[in-house]
Symmetry: C2
Subunit: 410 residues, 2 copies
Amino acid sequence: MTLAAQMREMGRDARAAAAALRLASADQRSEAIRASARALRGRQQSILAANAADLVGATGLLDRLRLDEARLEAIARSLETVADLPDPVGEEMARWSRPNGLDIARVRTPIGVIGMICESRPNVTADAAAICLRSANVLILRTGSEALRSAIAIHGALAEGMAEAALPAASVQLVPVVDRDAVGMMLAGLDRAIDLIIPRGGRDLVERVTREARVPVLGHLEGLCHSYVHASADLDMAVAIVANAKMRRVSVCGATETLLVDREVAPELLPRLAAAMPDCELRGDEGARAILPMAVAEESDWSTEYLAPILAVRLVDGVGAAIGHIARYGTGHTDAIIASDAEATARFLDEVDSGIVMVNASTQFADGGEFGFGAEIGIATGRLHARGPVGPEQLTTFKYVVRGSGQIRP
Amino acid sequence: MTLAAQMREMGRDARAAAAALRLASADQRSEAIRASARALRGRQQSILAANAADLVGATGLLDRLRLDEARLEAIARSLETVADLPDPVGEEMARWSRPNGLDIARVRTPIGVIGMICESRPNVTADAAAICLRSANVLILRTGSEALRSAIAIHGALAEGMAEAALPAASVQLVPVVDRDAVGMMLAGLDRAIDLIIPRGGRDLVERVTREARVPVLGHLEGLCHSYVHASADLDMAVAIVANAKMRRVSVCGATETLLVDREVAPELLPRLAAAMPDCELRGDEGARAILPMAVAEESDWSTEYLAPILAVRLVDGVGAAIGHIARYGTGHTDAIIASDAEATARFLDEVDSGIVMVNASTQFADGGEFGFGAEIGIATGRLHARGPVGPEQLTTFKYVVRGSGQIRP
């Protein structure tokens, strides 16, 4: 069978599975997620062996790719958290009556079939499947070549979970080969089998999705996050927050990549910050380098998502300039102000038009779990349908149910 | 200036206007809408003259295109209704605290710049502008050739309203020429100036949008609505509802185009229905024609949005068959069951996966005003962001505002 025929078959199977999932109970879907967690633990050895094989050939972001016993256990626990989440499907979001007696309810429904295109994080396979099952959506996942062996091993555990809960095997499908053509077919919608594409990746993927997608897209794209230290900031707090926002984990999309500092507090802040994160390379504009020796930040640095222990540093003159920089270089992900001044804070929170805006907190809180959503499939950086962390509730749509007693429209 | 340069300039102006609209108060935007209503009344003569000129060259759906004093007054009143609606921008949709003290709010924000592509209804120009202003979005509208003179005249009144309220003229822009290339440029996003495309039109437009759009789309496409008369229906009610759903106004997207009837009640229902709407042409399947002489319904009739006094009629064997027909031929707009049986009703409402599902009511209630939204820009037939009637609230997005006191992530 050609790849094209195989992908079309996956699409048809997905459509059929979507109808079955909509009829399956919340408990049945919870049980499928729990059974998958058990299967992940039972298959620990083979999953770690597959991951080790992936690591041998890998270059680059090894921290994203690597699994160990603790991380695999964390994945299993994350599935159990999702299994325990309230089920969003069928929830009455609103209900009201009209003067003519019509009763109108807005009811949550699954989206249908989600096509996810991602790169090298093996945990995404399990997390995405659990979130889709919680929201009664079918998942078709295409992972990057670096993580393919790990993904196949994890998908085996998920298939075991589906079988135990008597859900269709096609509820969670993994594209079993790495082929750029498969991505193109998914972006074209697999003959209307895919309702929504979720891409998670870098610029190349962004551009390809923008160019080729024929179905709606929930972009999970770059996180070029900013932390801005206003002149009114408590500098102890600022040092602690920025060091955490940059260095807690450098490979996550919520990591701060650019620090903006009000010129007047930079002489005190920058040396203390450098001391607090000695392993971080600083790249500064002229003003920052006049305070502290550091590498030169080129124009391209302001728009680079390092995902590494590197921080671009720019001095600014006040909140307006900070907002302007973020409007120009930001990706609409997460941006924070550290300040005590109420007016500057209010202006920043109001005018910075990102999915998440923060005051006096680390941008690394950009995370579905930290928001209380239980889990996330990523952080949406577009403007439609959902922004910020995408959990099960964000993977639903709704319909209006109108109950009448014979009303006709005048 | 070439059309391309002109369109790019419209996009740049729109971006600047979007920033200004976000900072404008709710009252200022209300005043712009009210001033537009006043200007519409003041310019009644010239608008009706422009519409008369449009009608001279027009063919086809004249009822959609025609304006008269009463319709123009209705448009002005509709603007005033929108001006009085609660403003959605800045609304706190949800707010909660996390165990670590982080305070998280989900706050409504405008989408930004809306590009609307529509055909021949002149009222759309005013309604869309009012809804966009109420939600602090900029509108770039491209209307069909048949309604262009009317749209230009109405846009003149809107421009007067913007000026009176001191909002940028670019807050509401009309593409001043009819050129297919203009549509292509809008679908490409005008250099990232457009955040959302709203198409309203028939199949050709649907297909073009699907093929060419590089920005998110909120589809306002075909309304192939079904009314299904279940065997348990009160037949007096069924006749009244179906006649209204078909004939009240045949050119609206919520008009029923296909009637499905349970075989056992068809012999009683069909003659009574035919008597109740003598001006409607019936096209039936074999079973229907055995009961009543009528034209033959071809396969293509099941997927034709007539927008005319024609009704396709098919006999079915129970609610499952009705659901199956709708799944195959429907467009996800509005579908109704007329029934008294609770089980059949529940199954229909649950399994028909359209934006609006109804029981014992006319599909012509598919309308933002009838839903209590004040006004609508159309009925969304896609699955993402919003379904059903799209009013000001549906033209918003949100951001998360996270307030901390120095939290760092462990």
